[in-house]
């Protein structure tokens, strides 16, 4: 489903180079549920942004669903995001002016799906997350858990092959977090590949595969090894 080889991502300022991903290799097979863990600043979000074609990278290769997506034009990347990838964010990222239906509708609008088909897909997605009764509510009228369900419905509505979830339970209490995980597990069982970034080892353990990032690389973690919460990874360019 997803294959990254020797991917490098460097953030540069006048004084500092930061290697967010450093010869990063990862392969995720279709239908996997992978949790990504690591300390703050280890490159998790950078990895998700690159995986979701929201950011570019400096070197290496990335193929998604069998196609090389390393160097694409904006229009093509947008189409792939729209058709193959669903995003779930820690802060839900619902659009406050739009009600539940209109929020879930957004990806379908950019796919230029006709009205009838959109209506059917939105209803199906809202049924999946159990929020049909809140269809005309606005985000401000929903609880955190309900908002995240709407976000999941929005991620699901276009029937993506891959869902990228960035700490999807980070803003929820433990009960809600478990409900959301249950939902993700259900979605995964139906065949959708899920990559989830989380800080919570208990939730990570529910994924079928756990990977750990440190200093922009994947690491093999021994059972008794503890990952430091934060390690500085800044290095000065040779010219300084």
């Amino acid at each position: 489903m997803l294959k990254m080889e020797k991917v490098n991502k460097v953030y540069r300022t006048d004084m500092v180079e930061t290697h967010a991903l450093n010869s990063f290799d990862l392969e995720v097979k279709s239908g996997e549920f992978v949790s990504v863990m690591g300390p703050s600043g280890c490159g998790k979000t950078t990895f998700l942004n690159i995986a979701g074609l929201l950011d570019t990278f400096d070197a290496g290769h990335y193929s998604l669903d069998g196609a090389d997506v390393s160097r694409l034009r904006d229009g093509e990347m947008s189409r792939i995001r729209n058709e193959k990838i669903g995003f779930i964010f820690q802060t839900f990222n619902l659009i406050p002016d739009l009600n539940v239906i209109d929020n879930v509708d957004v990806p379908l609008r950019y796919r230029k799906v006709n009205r009838q088909e959109r209506k059917r897909a939105i209803e199906e997605a809202l049924m999946t997350v159990g929020l049909m009764s809140r269809a005309s509510h606005y985000p401000s009228q929903l609880s955190g858990g309900q908002q995240q369900r709407v976000a999941i419905a929005r991620a699901l509505v276009g029937k993506p092959k891959l869902i990228l979830a960035d700490e999807p339970t980070g803003n929820l209490d433990s009960l809600m977090a478990r409900e959301i995980l249950d939902l993700l597990e259900t979605i995964n069982r139906e065949g959708t590949t899920i990559i989830m970034v989380t800080h919570d080892p208990e939730l990570a353990a529910r994924a079928r595969r756990q990977i750990h990032l440190l200093d922009g690389r994947l690491i093999d973690l021994q059972p008794d090894q503890v990952i430091p919460l934060y390690r500085a990874r800044k290095s000065f360019p040779a010219s300084i």
Binding site: T45, N49, G52, L54, D55, D74, G75, S78, R79, R81, N82, E83, F87, F89, Q90, T91, F92, N93, I95, D97, L98, V106, P107, R109, Y110, R111, K112, R154, G158
Partner: protein
């Protein structure tokens, strides 16, 4: 997709109504001011007789000082009126379909005593062809015939307003009107007729009140009627009235209707022959410089649209541009404030172009609302202009100007919106997704 963009734009406007109102007002003010002056210019420069303007010609002949031309700036320019002797001479031509020499005078008109005191009326002395040549509309009767020109017969055509004043608007054909010391028989009463600009005599008041009475030109000599318009001369014009008529003073306007190019060439040949004849007699010693100016060229030549009107159009368009440029900053702030939402839309599949179009549509929605409001403002502005011109010009918006106003509004929206829309669509979505 357009409908979706319009819906998003509408929601965006409702999100911050005060800011939206300010932006709309900015466009409305610019459109209101520019539409007012563009419409004013449009009305002042429009063809006053579109059905015939291309076959109506103003005649110019150069009788000016051989030592010094008519115009210091343009050596090719000919005097803008003709002498009485030249006018009466060229009126003998049989080439034009219609022709009329004419001038404006102020003569005493004596209403019946019970209706009021004598007053100085604006009288146009002209030939019978004046009325059919300029498609003058009649309510009662018609103009006089060519035979009445020759005698001349004491006949008069009244304007609609004069007929109201002297006869209460009734059919006054056959009634008598005393002008100076003669009685004239009414042969025609006009419909309300107010050509603006007054194309047949623009250098004697382009937008002044219309003529009130029309009498045969040839009364000039028996009644010793002097012009009430501009007179120019370069040579001593003598002392007696007859000296004036034979002088080189120019004060007559000469119009002809020439329906074909051949007719035009023949008439030009006639004029050239006439001037050559005069040159042989010692007059008109300047190089041959006869001109036939079509109506719109003539109006342009006479500056029927005041330079100030053109300047106001330029200033008002610059004002609109300033309004649009001011909006760039406001729109930029408004759009950048929504960067996190745009990050989400990008993540969900919106391309840069889709985001750009979303914001351009929002700008154009603002522009259309501002444009409509601006059109309403311009209606007020045009009402003020109409009053300034004392009703001589009816400054009203026509559909062309409404379309132009909306077009200008859309262009302003584009000018104001392109940079902010480009900035917001160029943002890297990943940077803003965590800010939501």
């Amino acid at each position: 997709m357009l409908a979706y963009h319009i819906r998003i734009a509408w929601k965006s406007l409702k999100r911050n109504p005060i800011l939206s109102a300010l932006i709309v007002l900015g466009i409305a003010l610019g459109i209101g001011v520019s539409t007012t002056f563009v419409t004013g210019h449009h009305i002042m420069s429009r063809d006053p007789i579109p059905q015939k303007s291309s076959v109506l010609y103003y005649v110019e002949m150069d009788n000016w000082d051989p030592e010094k031309g008519w115009s210091d700036e343009d050596p090719k320019a000919a005097p803008n009126q003709v002498t009485h002797r030249d006018a009466t001479a060229v009126m003998k031509s049989t080439v034009p379909t219609y022709q009329s020499a004419m001038f404006k005078s102020y003569l005493y008109v004596f209403p019946p005593p019970k209706l009021g005191r004598p007053y100085r009326g604006r009288v146009r002395l002209c030939f019978a062809d004046f009325f059919p040549m300029f498609d003058v509309p009649f309510r009662y009767g018609a103009g006089w015939d060519r035979a009445a020109d020759r005698t001349p017969d004491p006949v008069v055509v009244l304007s609609h307003e004069t007929n109201q004043k002297l006869f209460g608007g009734e059919n006054s054909l056959g009634k008598s009107v005393r002008i100076e010391r003669r009685d004239f028989k009414v042969v025609g009463v006009l419909e309300p007729w107010r050509p603006a600009p007054k194309f047949y005599d623009p250098h004697n008041g382009t937008y002044e009140e219309p003529d009130e009475l029309f009498i045969p030109f040839n009364f000039v000599r028996p009644m010793e009627i002097r012009t009430g318009g501009n007179t120019s001369g370069w040579k001593d014009s003598g002392k007696t009235f007859e000296d004036q008529l034979q002088s080189e003073n120019i004060w007559i306007q000469m119009w002809v209707q020439l329906d074909s190019e051949r007719q035009k060439q023949e008439y030009m040949q006639f004029l050239d022959n006439y001037v050559r004849g005069q040159q042989a007699l010692g007059r008109m010693q300047r190089p041959l410089n006869n001109k036939l100016l079509a109506t719109m060229d003539w109006l342009d030549d006479q500056g029927a649209v005041p330079e100030e009107a053109t300047s106001f159009v330029v200033i008002s368009l610059l004002f609109l541009l300033v309004c649009s440029l001011n909006l760039i900053g406001i729109l930029l702030g408004k759009f950048l404030a929504r960067a996190p939402e745009i990050g989400v839309r990008r993540a969900l599949g919106a391309s840069r172009m889709a985001i750009f179009m979303q914001h351009i549509v929002e700008c154009e929605l603002i522009a259309v609302i501002g444009g409509v409001l601006g059109v309403l403002l311009s209606i007020l502005g045009l009402e003020v202009l109409t009053r300034l011109f004392d009703g001589m010009l009816n400054f009203r918006l026509d559909w062309l100007m409404v379309a132009a106003a909306i077009g200008m509004a859309l262009l302003s929206g584009l000018v104001a919106g392109v940079y902010p829309a480009w900035r917001i669509c160029s943002l890297a979505p990943a940077n803003y997704l965590k800010e939501q």
